[in-house]
């Protein structure tokens, strides 16, 4: 009876929840790893600073040299134009691959097989020697009269050869990326557009492609960064992009290491800029999705560093409202 009475008494007002203050688990492994890395990094910095053969003075001397600047511009130009060609061909091949016409599908498959199956360096050499294969390039009705003829040696300049080599090869890779993007868009989107009376091209342009972009952009960013570095292959064709420009200089002054550092610095600067650009493009095409765009590498490093110290730092997150 007494027990029952106790039970029926009104419960005491709930106290405010007590925040848990526990002693964190010791993680000596993290400390050891951290210290080790810092020590090794310090040793590397010291070596780089004190080894005279790095030739930092020479690096500074040539970093903004006109020849290097000219090579840098050509590298940027090549990267930009060959990606443009690659993306255009990639979209075309991807749409062809999804066509109901089997011959169109086969043509797209053959292209991808050919250009993905041979090294890009071999393709570049082929384009450089195209005049040996087709001294005169003729446009006209197949098996019929010719309409236009070009002399291959005058029209396929080193620049055109390089552009064709890089762009046509890139198209094969881009097509797979674009195709994956198109397939990632829910079929219901196309149906809804159809039901509203939209035609296939409008549906593709206004509904499917913009949503496929979210899947297409990140690997395209990688491809662009890859392309930036692949342009250095062109140096074997004696086209004066960044790498060949510094090679020309060190062929004369024998300061190979400092000049390769000059080239590397510029490649790093460009890839960094491209990565930042990619982040903003991704954020743009991520609009309307609840998922936040992942933080950049720098943000991630800062975040992990700050959680390590058990402090909370808000990493800027994409709000659900998008841009």
């Amino acid at each position: 009876m007494a027990e029952a009475d106790q039970a029926s008494e009104p419960a005491p007002a709930p106290a405010a929840p007590v925040e848990i203050k526990a002693v964190p688990v010791r993680r000596p492994g993290r400390w050891i790893a951290g210290i080790l890395i810092v020590v090794v990094a310090a040793a590397l910095v010291k070596s780089a600073a004190t080894n005279p053969r790095f030739g930092w003075g020479t690096v500074g001397e040539y970093l903004f040299a006109p020849t290097v600047m000219d090579g840098l511009l050509k590298t940027i130009e090549l990267t930009f134009l060959s990606m443009l060609i690659g993306i255009a061909i990639g979209v075309l091949l991807a749409v062809m691959r999804l066509s109901p016409n089997p011959i169109v599908v086969a043509a797209s498959g053959f292209y991808i097989w050919l250009f993905r199956g041979t090294p890009v360096l071999v393709q570049l050499l082929f384009w450089a020697f195209i005049a040996a294969l087709y001294p005169v390039i003729t446009l006209g009705v197949p098996f019929g009269p010719a309409l236009l003829s070009f002399d291959a040696n005058t029209w396929i300049t080193p620049f055109v050869a390089v552009l064709l080599g890089l762009g046509l090869n890139e198209g094969a890779y881009m097509s797979e990326i674009v195709r994956a993007g198109l397939l990632s868009v829910d079929e219901g989107q196309e149906e809804a557009a159809k039901a509203l009376g939209m035609r296939r091209m409008t549906t593709m342009r206004r509904v499917i492609l913009p949503q496929a972009m979210r899947v297409i952009i990140p690997p395209t960013g990688n491809e662009t960064i890859g392309m930036l570095k692949t342009t250095s292959l062109v140096s074997v064709l004696a086209y004066t992009e960044l790498l060949y420009a510094v090679q020309l200089i060190y062929a004369a002054n024998y300061k190979q290491i400092p000049l390769l550092i000059v080239a590397s610095i510029w490649y790093l600067v460009l890839t960094t800029i491209l990565s930042i650009g990619q982040y903003f493009i991704e954020r743009h095409y991520g609009r309307g999705t609840a998922r936040a765009v992942p933080p950049t590498l720098l943000m991630r490093i800062w975040q992990s560093f700050s959680t390590w110290r058990h402090t909370e730092v808000d990493v800027p997150q994409q709000t659900r409202h998008g841009l």
Binding site: D186, G188, Q189, E191, A192, A193, K194, A195, L196, G197, M198, R199, R200, T202, R206, V207, P210, Q211, Y285, R287, G288, T289, A290, R320, H321, G322
Partner: protein, 254 residues
């Protein structure tokens, strides 16, 4: 009511060797609300999708507002319609999907004005003004700038209805519009559909909502195994089903 809004005659549809529709014949008068009921896999959704040519039929004929769907009759020969002609037929038929299918990269307003601008050629500011009216009508006048991911299922479906209405359709098709919704969100969508029916819209509704069919439907059609088993006004079909398959189905869902 001389002319039917939808007239189907012996409609057959196969997927490979699987015959999904085995000769469906029915009539929907202008302003009528027809509810299609039946077990899943019975072919009712497929039939709905044939009405706006999202599925091609294998035999039979469907007319919407007197015009043959997807084909053109010249003499005794049928010619497939060109894509642009199919598109303009579809533009006059609104459709609401089970999974809403709102364009995910567009706000509610952009979803609604897209087709009027791109298909009809409506001026942007006119389309926007109409979008506002439609969003008010479905009770979401303050959510014009919301992306689909920011809306609940019920709200998304109401935007989807507004998007279909923006094309000023003469017929609305609903493909299980409440089946993907949490139970507490079903009511808000049915309210919008009820209001639409009261405004005199011709509607063909595939649904599992017996209550809605009973209250709003002018005709109830029970479909099983690709064929119409029984049809009539809701009271007679629900209170006094003639066919044993209808009775069996109703005893499970009621």
């Amino acid at each position: 009511m001389s002319e039917s809004m939808v007239k189907a005659e012996a409609v057959h549809k196969r997927f490979g060797r699987n015959e999904v529709l085995k000769g469906i014949t029915l009539d929907v008068a202008p302003g009528e609300v027809m509810c299609l009921l039946g077990p899943s896999g019975s072919g009712k959704s497929t039939f709905l999708r044939c009405i706006n040519h999202l599925e091609k039929i294998n035999s039979g004929r469907i007319w919407v507002d007197g015009a043959l769907v997807g084909y053109r009759q010249r003499g005794d020969k049928l010619h497939e319609m060109r894509e642009s002609d199919v598109a303009s037929e579809r533009a006059q038929i609104g459709m609401v999907f089970q999974r809403f299918n709102l364009f995910g990269h567009m706000t509610a307003e952009q979803n609604i004005i897209e087709a009027p601008i791109r298909v009809v050629g409506t001026k942007r500011d006119v389309a926007k003004a109409e979008a506002k009216v439609l969003m008010d009508r479905v009770g979401l006048g303050d959510r014009l700038d919301a992306y689909p991911a920011q809306l609940s299922g019920g709200q998304q479906q109401r935007v989807a209805i507004a998007r279909a209405l923006a094309m000023k359709p003469k017929l609305m098709l609903f493909d299980e519009p409440t089946s993907a919704l949490d139970p507490e969100l079903v009511g808000e969508v049915l309210d919008v559909m009820r209001a639409l029916a009261a405004d005199g819209m011709t509607m063909v509704v595939v649904t599992h909502e017996i209550g809605f069919a009973k209250e709003v439907g002018d005709t109830v059609v029970f479909i099983d195994d690709g064929a119409v088993v029984e049809s009539g006004d809701p009271v007679s079909v629900f209170e006094n089903p003639q066919h044993e398959r209808t009775q069996a189905f109703l005893s499970k869902v009621l």
